[in-house]
Symmetry: C2
Subunit: 501 residues, 2 copies
């Protein structure tokens, strides 16, 4: 079908539009003229065996010749393009699943087929970001019933790869988040694998928080492992701590998370589908799920926590997964550091059993590690914590952690921020509350998680009695601009710490 | 604040990203380094007195020097940029209104202040398209109550310009759409202004349809008039037919409509706020609102139509506008042509009282023109239709239309499509239904409204008795690619016409 007329040859321009696929072509190029394409048309671009849907940006200058085209960095990589390669551009096949999204907006339920079609089209990148945003918003607004939620989770598993470890007991954990600094995974994995369990841990990067486990772990070792590397690590070490997105476990979820991030939205149903689809695809069989509850945490009431617990258990059962859901204290940040490098520092201090290690982080890690250890058929309920504690205090966990880091590609030094700004107590009194959301926002304004060294270092906690002028926290940033940006937020918002006389 | 370090000099690249503001800069440029910017950061860009929020796309090649930057065409125009101009790039001020959108997603109501903040931030282009999409979807999903709806409408008026014609009676009309080919405005304006009324008609371009009134009118005359030109036309001709977006009557609405278009979404509340904010800002006092009802029209039941009518009347009252809402037949397209040029042909045929003019288009135009004429204090209810008919049949309306077109910048010849493809009846029988949505979709797939000549020309209507092989309709396109794209949809979808033996 007009194949030869739809060809343009690639010229590298190196324009990075993050994860957006864009094709650049002359307004007057033969393809645009033949097909009637105008910006911002969604077009089907193919190169050899690879293809994707991209947004067309037309060029009216002499930047490239009419017979040439370019691609955004993301599209260039996805297509495996090289300078001079011939790409074909066509109208994309008409896709109907957007009408199912519209129907959902008006309160109708998804059928299994509809949800499958939507997830297939999203993972094939047929949806623009605005369309993905409408899907997420409609799901959050009306919620998903039990059938829709399990269908969504299954559909997300179906479009990606699945790993099979060929073991009966493959453990995992997940925290529903919302609690800055709660970075216990890199402490748990070496404890649990030292005990002899298999824990192939794939973590996500931050969605709406200043750091995800993958962001923090990346400070200490490479986290972009391929499946061969993961299998090697499970064989040699019993586990690893990798970024889940470096393998294609739930490609639709990666797209959904990217858009959720731009909306600062993190809905309950997407959370369950996202977590369980990735756990199932990653080959886990037994999972501890932590739900911190607090007035400024993601989950603010036991009612919400119970609903989440029920839905986790329901979907897990359908997927043949065993889950243990635990509620924890979410009233304030965990540890001292918030942001990748500062959290990494806390983790190493806990693993090394140093005096300056944050005790709340240590206790929480031991609690969850204990529950995971109790998945072993030969461990009685209640014994896990002390088993975990012995492993940590013996130094075995620290040894194991270094060994895992080396096997993942080499342990790294923790970098420090070149710019910091400290904040002091405006009065004497007792700290009665710390706003998790605002403190997380300050860390993000300072550049976390994109800049590893950026974040907030807390020097005080709820219950502390402080004098006027006492150090409350320090902002860390990689650039003066970001330090200023984060600090200026604090000029308008003075209620992050509540201090009572 | 580091003003000089935040400067980059412009180089023109001519990249057209439609209405998206993008700034292109080297990854290693001083501003990105200083401020810690990475793609896809939202950044504040200023040039002299102009400023906007743009998305950063970084460049890793030698396309531009580290001291230089470029802008997408839209941003280039909005900032009034010239080659070599110095732009400043900073972190945008933190905006809180996105948290109000999230609250709405979870079913809470907007306060007046919240809705004002959102609309201000949207019109200042602080929102990315995914964020606008979430706002629209959340509003559509939960609906707006009466207070929210009037607050939204008022907020949309507040952020734009308002025109005052200094007259007590300024008439207008609006059709809620969904009916392909229903292009009666260019017939009504010359009738009503011939009668002596003031009708300064600002129309929109297509949102989800194959043509808006502004798209169709543009085939016959320029529609991008500034306010001075509009005032001159009202003085000389009593009215005009212009594109509303060429003046800044409701700048937030233009952004909302652009995103709604990408979602193919057109919600009831946004509809009311959009229509009435623009009518009020355009200085109208008396408005006829047409709601076509039909199984495949936008409004499918009298229940929905009544709800819309009530809400139109309610918000109109709050804004001190007089409205007359009329329900019409929406069972099939109006006229023969669907798409800008084909509709323009039908309009001219009606104005010239030609035998081949579509009678349904003529009757509908006379009905609405009659209702508008009845807004005059000296016209009795029921007299309007025959007054309108006399003006049309006397040739005065056609004369007036030509005069208005000349005054708008010159009447144009209607172009014809170079490529057409006809479809014939697969069997003999009576046409019992025509699917408005599908026929509109075919016209869009053929390239309407961007390509003026594109669309569908209907040769048959509901009630017609056709023989096997009779001509049903013809697709018109500007390129072979689009003709093929539209035709291939028909291979999979054979139920556009229902024909009974």
């Amino acid at each position: 079908m007009n194949g030869e007329k739809n060809i343009l040859h690639l010229r590298y321009l190196g324009i990075d539009a993050y994860m957006e696929a864009i094709v650049y072509a002359r307004k007057d190029c033969p393809v645009c003229t033949l097909e009637g394409f105008e910006t911002p048309a969604r077009v089907y671009v193919s190169l050899g065996e690879h293809s994707l849907i991209a947004t067309l940006h037309t060029i009216s200058s002499d930047l490239i010749d009419p017979g040439k085209a370019s691609l955004s960095e993301y599209a260039w990589k996805r297509l495996g393009a090289k300078e001079g390669d011939a790409i074909r551009i066509h109208h994309p096949k008409f896709f109907e699943s957007l009408s199912f999204v519209r129907s959902k907006i008006y309160g109708n339920r998804f059928s299994k087929n509809e949800i499958e079609a939507i997830i297939q089209d999203i993972s094939a990148e047929r949806y623009s970001d605005t369309q993905v945003s409408a899907f997420l918003t409609a799901c959050a607004a009306h919620g998903l019933n039990k059938e829709e939620l399990t269908d969504l989770t299954q559909a997300m598993i179906n479009v990606g790869d699945c790993i099979n470890w060929h073991r009966d007991l493959v453990v995992d954990k997940h925290c529903v988040g919302g609690l800055p600094g709660n970075r216990i995974t890199p402490i748990i994995v070496p404890i649990v694998t030292s005990y002899g369990l298999i824990m192939p841990k794939t973590s996500s990067r931050a969605i709406t928080s200043p750091s995800g486990t993958a962001d923090t772990m990346e400070v200490l070792a490479p986290v972009e492992l391929d499946i061969a590397m993961m299998k090697k690590l499970v064989g040699e070490e019993g586990g690893f701590i990798a970024w889940g997105g470096s393998v294609s476990l739930s490609p639709a979820d990666d797209i959904l998370i990217r858009v959720e991030r731009s909306l600062d939205l993190d809905s309950e149903d997407q959370l369950i589908a996202s977590v369980l689809s990735k756990k199932k695809a990653a080959g886990s069989t037994h999972i501890v799920i932590e739900i911190p509850i607090g007035p400024t945490a993601k989950v603010r009431s036991e009612e919400t926590a119970n609903r989440l617990k029920q839905n986790f258990e329901l979907v897990a059962k359908y997927l043949d997964l065993q889950v243990c859901v635990i509620f924890t204290d979410g009233s304030q940040p965990v540890g001292f550091g918030i942001g990748p490098a500062l959290e990494a520092r806390d983790i190493v201090n806990v693993l090394q059993c140093k005096a300056e290690a944050p005790q709340d982080l240590r206790t929480r890690a031991l609690t969850i590690a204990g529950l995971i250890i109790e998945f072993s058929p030969n461990v009685t309920k209640g014994e896990g914590f002390s088993i975990a504690q012995k492993i940590l205090d013996s130094g075995k966990a620290w040894e194991k952690f270094q060994s895992i880091c080396e096997a993942q590609g080499g342990m790294r030094q923790i970098p420090k921020a070149p710019f910091t700004h400290s904040f002091f107590s405006p009065k004497s009194g007792k700290i009665t509350a710390i706003d998790n959301r605002q403190i997380a926002l300050v860390a993000k304004l300072a550049g976390a998680p994109n800049n590893k060294v950026a974040g907030v270092d807390l020097h005080s906690r709820i219950g502390n009695i402080v004098k006027k002028g006492a150090l409350l926290f320090t902002i860390h940033a990689e650039s003066k601009g970001e330090l200023h940006y984060a600090s200026s937020y604090l000029t308008d918002h003075t209620n992050i710490f509540q201090i009572q006389d």
